[in-house]
């Protein structure tokens, strides 16, 4: 009988050139004819953890600090930590295999809850502008930063990882896994005019590893003001 494999909800119509098997995930490392960008990469297989605790500050996942303000992100070593609210953060293992889920009850493995897509390269942010009113290019925020809101009508977590010249740059995006096909269709449709093509994990790693370790943004002045003035959450 066939080997047991996992399957991503994203199936690009492109020729996979190189595939690696990782924890039963067939991971496409490279597609033929990926072009010069912009690129869209399926990262659904990347491990994602949800951490919720009233006292989030007492946690140091993998020894890393959790950013303190909602909307702030920290991309350190191979891990991106996004602060979601007062009691919750998301931990995405972007560049290396994840270790076992920590035993504390606050952690949940949510790898399979969402589809994770990277959209980057020339005009990547112009593609996003066709799909969301979220300000992914907010000049008052330092990359990486997180926005939780609608993207192509669906509630998403969107992280601007890089903002380059004009509309160049890149972002990560998650939405409910069941929407994967609709979301990918919408992104490819919006990106067609810019030559958007699917790319393999290698392309993502090459881009993202250049960004890891940069100082994370802690400045989100408008948000900070609100957090300190509101009692209800």
């Amino acid at each position: 009988m066939k080997e047991i494999q996992r399957q991503s909800p994203v199936q690009f119509k492109a020729d996979a050139q190189k595939i690696a098997m990782r924890d039963n995930w067939p991971v496409v490392l490279e597609y033929s004819n990926e072009g010069r960008g912009p690129f869209v990469v399926d990262l659904t297989h990347k491990a994602k953890w949800d951490l919720q605790d009233k006292n989030l500050a007492t946690h140091k996942p993998l020894g890393l600090d959790i950013p303190t303000l909602p909307g702030a992100c920290a991309f350190q070593k191979s891990v991106l930590i996004n602060r979601l609210n007062r009691t919750q953060c998301a931990i995405w293992h972007l560049l290396a295999d994840a270790p076992a889920l920590p035993g504390e009850p606050g952690y949940t493995d949510v790898t399979e809850s969402t589809v994770l897509l990277a959209l980057f390269g020339p005009n990547a942010l112009a593609i996003a502008e066709k799909l969301t009113a979220l300000d992914l290019m907010d000049p008052q925020k330092q990359t990486p930063f997180l926005l939780q809101g609608p993207f192509s009508h669906l509630p998403c977590q969107v992280v601007t990882l890089e903002r380059g010249h004009g509309f160049d740059g890149g972002l990560l995006l998650t939405c409910s896994r069941g929407y994967a096909r609709s979301m990918v269709h919408a992104i490819l449709d919006a990106g067609a005019e810019f030559g958007l093509r699917p790319a393999g994990e290698q392309r993502f790693s090459a881009w993202a590893s250049g960004l890891s370790g940069k100082p994370g943004s802690a400045q989100a002045p408008s948000v900070m003001h609100l957090v300190t003035t509101r009692e209800n959450l």
Partner: protein, 972 residues
Amino acid sequence: MNRLTKLPTLRIDPSENRSLQYKGQTYQGVAGDTVATALYANGVRVFARSLKYHRPRGLYSLDGECSNTCMQVDDIPNVRTENTLLKNGMQVKDQNVKGSAEFDWMGFMDKLDCLMPAGFYYRTMHKPASLWPIAMKQVRNAAGLGKIAPDFRMKGDYTEIYPRAAVCVIGGGAAGMTAALAAAESGLRVVLLDARPWLGGCFDYRVSAYDQEKALYQRARELAKAVEATPNIRVFKHTAVVGVYNNNLITAFQVGGESDSFNERYLEIRATSVVVATGCIERPLLFENNERPGIMQVGCAHRLARTYGLLPGNQAVFSIGHDLGLEAAADLFDLGLQIACVADIRADGQDPQLLLALTKRNIPFLRGWVACEAHGSRQVEKVTLSTIDGSAKRQFGCDLLVASAGLTPITGPLTLAQAKLKYDMHTGYFLPVDLPAKTHIAGRLTGLQHALAIEASGRLAGLNAAADCGFDTAKSAAEAGQQLNALPGPERGTRLVSAPVKGRKSFICFDEDTTLKNIKQAIEMGFDVPELIKRFTSAGTGPGQGGIPGHNLPLLVSEYQARTGAKPIPTTVRPPLVPTFIATYAGANHDMCKRTPLHDLQKKAGGVFRRMGVWRRARYFSEDFSCREEILNVRNNVGLLDASTLGKFRIHGPDALKALQRVYVSNMAKVAEGRVKYSAMCNDDGCVIDDGVVVKLAENDYYFTTSTGRAGETVEWIRFHTRYDGWDFHLVNLTDAMGVINISGPNACKVLAKVADTDLANEAFPFSSYREFTIRKKIPVRAMRLGFVGELSYELHADASYMPALWQIIEEAGQEFGIRNFGVEAQNVLRLEKCHIILGQESEQRTNLLDLGLGFLWHRNKPDAKTVGAVALRQTEKDPGRFRLVGFKMEDPQRPPRDGSIIVDQRIRGYVCTARKSFTLNESVGLALVDAELAALGTRLEIFEDECNGKRLDARIVPMPFYDPQGERMKM
């Protein structure tokens, strides 16, 4: 027609041809032409016929403020050809005509105006009553301008973008461009929008001097160059603003050029600050036959020549009320137009330079005169001019009458932004008295006419807008303010609306054929506010969006009511400011729906899919929608159902149990590890909103499921009902993370035993228990023994990514036991036989837990939990006047009633929730909600089905469940 091909102001490229088809002929235009200018170049003067009177209509303005040049282009109706760029091969047709625009058989309607005073249709055609249906048909056919086919499909690409801006400038004339440049000095993101395909506004076509070195058009091009060279200014040309909403949300649409990837695209811009620099349009002059082809506004005539290289006529008369009219007369004269006379409404106040220019050219000039009647049937041939008081008259032959009463600012964006407008006696404009927060105005809109003042006002507005975004521009703004104050201020405007006429054929609204006389009639009938007059006479409700009557109507009403001292009150402007294609508003319009991890496998297996909530699910697995084979296979062998859409959640944290006690009606403290607890959630009326199972994973750590429809709202629901409590618990939505396979039927255990790495014996894994194990040593699953369909049944929850593999493993293992898929409908029948309810099917808004017979789930002794719904349940417990859920059998076993049929005696006593022919029982059975007094066992029910022709179906209430009443099969 010969083009003026050498003018430096042209926006056409005479060297590049474009052609269109009209009336079976090919007409040649050039690149940059609009459809209407191309037709005009070919001698077309009558473009359309009017709505009611079928009067001939021609080119009047060039910005689409009326329906005069609306035509059918490429099967699309009501296209404003005067500002639609010509593309090669366009198919153009005239509309609302019998015959053609030139020769319309319906032209006689123009003589019938006495039969059609204001609101005539409310007073006619209803007597006798039998007349109305016939008359209505005629009314329908007569109404409407363009024609569209019901199977029409729009071609091309329509898309959308959501640009962000610190400052959004509306209007790309000199003021707007200056404002954009000033705002951009701070490095802010600036967006500049202009409705025309180029920047430049009213400077663009004018050759008058800007300063000693340059003409106005040169200055406009200079500014445009500076704007386009500024990287933080984003320019959207050919982009009309359609909506302005509070907190500075601007919507607009952009028309794609020949090299754009889109035909049109919708823009939604959230800006911090807004500058409105939309300039002015002309205020139409009212006189008899004021809309005859050959009559046009000043800007139209001027731009036809300067922008499109078309001399608008041969012999002209001007009847104008502002200096732009004088300027145009002199310039058009120089370009070759003969001018019989220029009549100016104003008694004084003209720019002496311009008067001198007319004198130099020997153009006769009449001060305080106005056009009072145009003559000629299809085109103007002669004009009667009179003094303002009508005391003297003169006639002039002409083929062009340039007519304009004055200017009126384009305040649409401001009124949409909630600015209050007030009539300003000096300019004669409706001007904002209170600007909304972070909104600024600049340019001609404010009454300024002097070029330098226009620019200075733009700069000031731009700097103030930057200040809204947090930049300190106080110093430069003060300087700009001083500069502006030193320049000439707003100019005096004209107030005259109509020439001294009775107004039977003086049209205040071209689109709706509303005359001066109609307005007077409406006022006499008690409609004394402009807004009511608008409703009663339709003035301003046509495709021109009130562009023609917008200013004149309130002036006229106040003039007519002068004795009451009424001030002119502007009518309401509504979005979209410019008519906009539904295709454009719709944009990309992607269908966003959820698919389960097993979608493709089920599709391959012949699944017939239906949209259910946010999901697409396989409802059937054959074309036999009774699902006989699917059902019997579950009862006799084993079936496989994709139940991945179930809501799935983890709740953890010190107060997790408290939260569950709040929302679930049962005592959740009793959930034991390794067991599955079925319970329900109610709303505060006691109505059941959800049911599902809860599993305890550890202390204050639970896994629970919800129905498919509730999954999206569950987190929100639990947080809402605990929002005042400050409890410490956390929710994780795992709905999409886990797929669910339901394997049901007498052979279920045998199939699963082949692949599961655990002991499935009844003692090891009994009914209603929960286990975790692996499949084939690799796939971890959470398994529950449940019995929704009434058979031995396992529900396997596993990582979504493993679902296809898991499905195939089980399918393969089950082959020898006759395994096959079943869909949602088969499940529906199976559970019906078992009388297991589906919320929303066996319940509705009025159905509470007790009505459904689920009272056993309710734990009444936890008042401290303040369980949602408990109070209402207690209060309704003894109410006899409620519905009850009952099971029934049909007297005719072959004939189930259709779902939704009602149960009646003299009145309606309930309805059938679900009923089916049961292949298992060879009976027709169903569940119904009926008045409690009918709910006793054995009661006969009369069922009233649709199209029953008076024949009722008979049923009898029987014990539930119908199938396997002892529940042995689930537990075997």
